[in-house]
């Protein structure tokens, strides 16, 4: 027997001022199923809640409608209240007669009937509510950090410091990421390596942190608190335990290729460490070029290794482990500037990107820190910097601002002056964005050091007589400018990793039109994703500089820590549910599920005299977030959303149209 109690709130004069509350109560009493109606001055107050509890008991209410404010305000309050009176909290429905009625209509003659309709809707819905029970799921208190750049390192350190185990998965042979490639950092001009490498070592030596380099996440299943992750640890061909990092193998290796770490400006061997401070400080054999693997010959490294660490027979290891939370810190990469045909990158060796310049400036770089132009090794006298290459350009690149380029270009100009005092620097820019602590001052400094900032775009670069002719426009002067440069540096945009969408799919999170991972809310949940238990750190979420990256990494770590502080999670019971007798098993629902929460299930049942098996959809309630997209995709009507069932919504429609 359905016995609905309706509690009409005055909300002081907030509701009663413009809605005839007495009339609403009177009409509510006539709605079939309603057995008790009362009015309260403030239903959310202690006495108000008491009266609900009392009425539930006295009138044997099994459903409650509170006609008051927005459910976004007090639904939880009244659910808890009902629960304290022994009623399942999901048998409570709110009728929003304040935000949607009393506050927006001043004429009582229209607001009162509308309030009645709203109550009628709520009653129609609540009559079709069924008790729901959140279930609890245990939390595996281990975190996975994907990406071993500064973001991943920071997040791992913070989580581990809180006492939880962390695994960092990095696909390169070393952690360190982009920051390791940088020479100095703005605006303080700290040496990048000097501040990064100690952290790398900290991470590597932390008892709570396990670092898997040369490894990739292949698959993530499960849900918050219970992710199951498959990691492929690629064969290094070097036994890390035996290797003493003496480096003799590298020395003797006969094969080399362009060094990725040096942006192709130098070479590395087939057995190599990306850079001397790599962590782990063990070489890796690049099987693509190693002659042992390509031609079955050589094997010099094995012969020269004093500790017998080189192991050609090593195989990829596949680890499957459980984690309670995941921090994605997969970073970003550099825009492919080749699409700017007018700049001639790729055709003219002296047109380089900012990151390439970093390597030319860096003392660990191919030129030992001397800025020499790639074509002929000459010291450049005139350097042109071009900003916004690939960013803020809808035609060829991306519309967004890449954020760090203004500052690193200023840094480059300063460093250029420091290294080659006689050099002159031109910066072609659209705007200078120097929002950040000490940033504007830093930019000023580069100007004061003589960098010429030209507001305008470059239309063409072409070589002529050993120089690069940079043609552009100074839009402030309205003139064509032509600079004869020795070196051109393109401030290439930060863009998502090419495989970011693939990673997003593995993580079950969304990404924006460019491929940056989407946060759950741009303001209020900037490090969470819409998949519970997956957090974001660093440039995988959008372009940012080092301080921002580190801050976000620590924030993500804090989220992980607060998740791990609970021993169990309770799940939202408003989840999708399948009526297996109706389900045809087309699994179209699983297509539209943003959370990969719908799986295929084989059931066995009697059909006439036979036993048959068939496929049905099955909802993983740990993963389901209750959006309901699947219910509309389901033609059979087999998929329903608890708390928002088809029956309920149709009843609401009907109640509103009476």
């Amino acid at each position: 027997m359905i016995r609905v109690g309706v509690f009409v709130c005055w909300c002081g004069s907030n509701i009663a001022g413009t809605v005839d509350v007495g009339k609403v109560a009177e009409e509510a009493a006539r709605i079939p199923g309603v057995v008790h109606v009362e009015q309260n001055k403030y239903t959310c107050s202690d006495p108000g809640q008491d009266s609900i509890r009392k009425a539930i008991k006295e009138h044997r209410l099994d459903r409650v409608v509170v006609a008051a404010c927005s459910p976004r305000m007090h639904e939880n309050t009244f659910r808890k209240c009902a629960a304290s009176a022994g009623l399942n909290p999901y048998l409570v429905e709110m009728a929003n007669i304040r935000e949607h009625c009393s506050w927006v209509h001043s004429d009582m003659s229209v607001s009162t009937p509308k309030a009645v309709d709203i109550v009628r809707r709520a009653v129609a819905k609540v009559k079709r509510c069924v008790p729901l029970h959140p279930s609890t799921i245990p939390v595996e208190k281990r975190a996975l950090v994907i990406g071993g750049g500064i973001a991943g390192i920071q997040a791992a350190l913070d989580i581990a410091e809180a006492g939880y185990d962390v695994t960092v998965v990095e696909r390169e042979p070393t952690i360190g990421g982009r920051m390791a490639q940088l020479d100095k950092t703005f605006p303080t001009l700290d040496c990048s390596s000097c501040i990064l490498t100690p952290k790398m070592v900290d991470a590597a030596s932390h008892p709570g942190i396990r670092i898997l380099t040369y490894a990739e996440v292949e698959e993530i299943s499960g849900y918050v608190g219970n992710f199951e992750v498959r990691v492929r640890k690629r064969a290094r061909s070097v036994d890390e335990a035996r290797c003493t990092a003496c480096g003799i193998c590298i020395l003797k290796c006969p094969t080399s290729r362009d060094s990725e770490f040096n942006m192709g400006l130098g070479t590395r061997k087939a057995i190599y460490m990306p850079f001397p401070q790599a962590v782990p400080n063990k070489p890796t054999i690049d099987r693509e070029i190693c002659r042992h693997f390509t031609a079955g010959k050589c094997g010099i490294c094995q012969k020269v290794c004093p500790s017998g660490a080189v192991d050609f027979s090593q195989e990829d290891q596949v680890l499957t482990e459980k984690f309670g939370a995941v921090v994605a810190a997969t970073g970003a990469t550099q825009f492919s500037v080749e699409v700017y045909g007018e700049y001639g990158y790729g055709r003219y060796p002296d047109v380089i990107t900012g990151l390439e310049l970093e390597r030319l400036i860096s003392s660990t770089g191919p030129t030992d820190g001397k800025i020499r132009r790639p074509s002929d090794g000459k010291i450049p006298k005139t350097v042109v910097f071009i900003k916004c290459v690939g960013s803020r350009d809808e035609n060829k690149g991306y519309p967004y601002c890449s954020k760090a380029c203004c500052m690193y270009t200023a840094k480059h100009a300063i460093l250029l002056k420091e290294k080659i005092p006689s050099a002159s620097a031109y910066v072609f820019y659209m705007d200078v964005r120097a929002g950040g602590k000490d940033y504007e001052e830093f930019y000023k400094r580069s100007q004061e050091m003589g960098t010429r900032y030209v507001r305008g775009r470059v239309s063409r670069i072409y070589p002529l007589d050993g120089k690069l002719i940079v043609q552009g426009e100074d839009t402030l002067l309205g003139e064509r400018v032509e600079v004869e440069a020795d070196l051109v540096v393109l401030a290439a945009a930060m863009v998502p990793q090419p495989d970011a969408p693939e990673m997003a799919r593995k993580l079950g999170i969304s990404y924006n039109q460019y491929g940056f991972f989407s946060e759950a809310h741009p303001k209020l949940r900037p490090v969470e994703t819409n998949t519970a238990g997956v957090f974001l750190a660093g440039t995988c979420q959008g372009p940012k500089d080092i301080p921002e990256t580190v801050a976000q990494a620590s924030a993500a770590a804090a989220k992980v820590i607060s998740l791990f502080a609970k021993s169990e999670l309770s799940t939202n019971p408003n989840v999708a549910s399948v009526d297996e007798s109706l389900c045809s098993g087309c699994l179209w629902c699983s297509n539209v599920c943003p959370y990969k929460a719908i799986e295929e299930k084989i059931i066995t049942e009697r059909a006439g005299k036979e036993t048959v098996t068939r496929t049905v959809a099955s909802v993983n309630t740990g993963l389901c977030q209750g959006c309901g997209a699947c219910t509309v995709a389901c033609r059979d009507g087999a998929m329903n959303l608890l708390g928002f069932t088809n029956e309920q919504i149709l009843a609401e429609v009907e109640a509103l149209c009476l």
């Binding site: 927005s70 305000m73 935000e99 949607h100 004429d107 408003n574 943003p594 309901g628 429609v653 009476l658």
Partner: protein
Amino acid sequence: MSLDWQPKIVGFTCNWCSYAGADLAGTSRMSYPASVRIIRVPCSGRINPVFVIRAFQRGADGVLVAGCHPGDCHYSTGNMYARRRFLIARRFMEYLGMDPARLEIHWISASEGQKFQEVIKNMTDRIHAMGPNRKMREIL
């Protein structure tokens, strides 16, 4: 049609954006015609176009479907599906002869109380001018 006839608009709104937008209109005391009655669903992806037909059948003069702006879905992609569904469903309803003004779909964010107000005002005006809906409607 009497002068004080007020259209009846059934509004389906997602919980996170459009319902909240309507709440904001309320907290900001933005008055609008008392024509709309809202059904709260978690996401615009939960709104079955068949619900819309049902509303017209039962006597709604207009139906509003509202959700987060594409790209801002709380569930990341629900409104993208809603957009596809309603792109074709709305055209189809028109094809069956339903006046397009009677079914409106809007993206209203939680911060767009004013937009909610305007949408309701405009929709009410348009439907008011057209009079009660008789198409697909059952007579009791």
